[in-house]
Symmetry: C2
Subunit: 198 residues, 2 copies
Amino acid sequence: MASQEIEALTQALARLPGLGPRSARRAVLHLLKKREGALAPLLSALEAVDRRLATCSVCGNIDTSDPCSVCADPRRDQRSLCVVEEVADLWALERSRLFPGRYHVLGGRLSALDGVRPEDLGIARLVQRVEAGGIDEVVLAMNATLEGQTTAHYIAERIEQFPVRLTQLAHGLPVGGELDYLDEGTLAQAMRARRPVA
Amino acid sequence: MASQEIEALTQALARLPGLGPRSARRAVLHLLKKREGALAPLLSALEAVDRRLATCSVCGNIDTSDPCSVCADPRRDQRSLCVVEEVADLWALERSRLFPGRYHVLGGRLSALDGVRPEDLGIARLVQRVEAGGIDEVVLAMNATLEGQTTAHYIAERIEQFPVRLTQLAHGLPVGGELDYLDEGTLAQAMRARRPVA
């Protein structure tokens, strides 16, 4: 019924998480009817992000600059490093505003089931960063899942040879909980109560 | 935390109907991580629509061509005209694939409360189309709301002078509707419009 272009836009939106075919159609209609107020801002925002999208060569964050805005911020504590599985987890922790240091994004978690091995993750780069010195504390902020905790244990073994304090998020996290889905209060609690790795 | 550009994109998405701040953030993350698979197609689809977006000068539909794809389709029955309040209604009817004719989009409904008068809607253009001849049937497909039905009555009065058959959508039980869950208005309509069992 609608033109090819509108159909293509609907399908592109419908593939976003949280939108289905029906809500995508509603969104498209909204965009078409509010060309100046909705379509134009979305288009220019997408263009701006697309033009400058980069993966941070320091920490693995996705941002519009490299190094990313966290790594480039001189106010961030360089002596504190927080290791997360995914970019989404970094964003979730940033929303809690409790961690003053920098991050290291692994890009996943160890998984025998999915065939993800240590060399598939940014673990070697992490060890390099720690080995390079200047870091006092490494916070292991993996998800409280079996695979997340396996990953944390593996990293702890690789890092314990270096003179850094290894901590992990307090287990105020509900079992099976994933960082990106948690409310900021719980995350803040977990960050505040972080403790040394036994 | 994230860069200005990413923040702007999140906000533009969060303003779409059906997306809030949280789901917009997830959508942005998805776009950033799937640059080729998600961001690029969405960007080019938006550009294509933005470049060619037009309001159909015949029927008022929003499309990427003028006349729109419905009006330009030679297979559509030119003798049958369906009047709807909004473009969304036209799209909904097109999805049902049951109406073979063309449309007329009013761009709203008469409303004393919102100060919408006949001259604010595409009613004069509708009368012109009917007056020009070649139309056998006008289907009044207004919403089954007070304002929709007021609008339908008003249009019926303006058009009844012309030699066309005026019809309206049947009112009654929705498919799958259970009596126990339906409002009294719908039930009353369905009872009033009851018809012989075939």
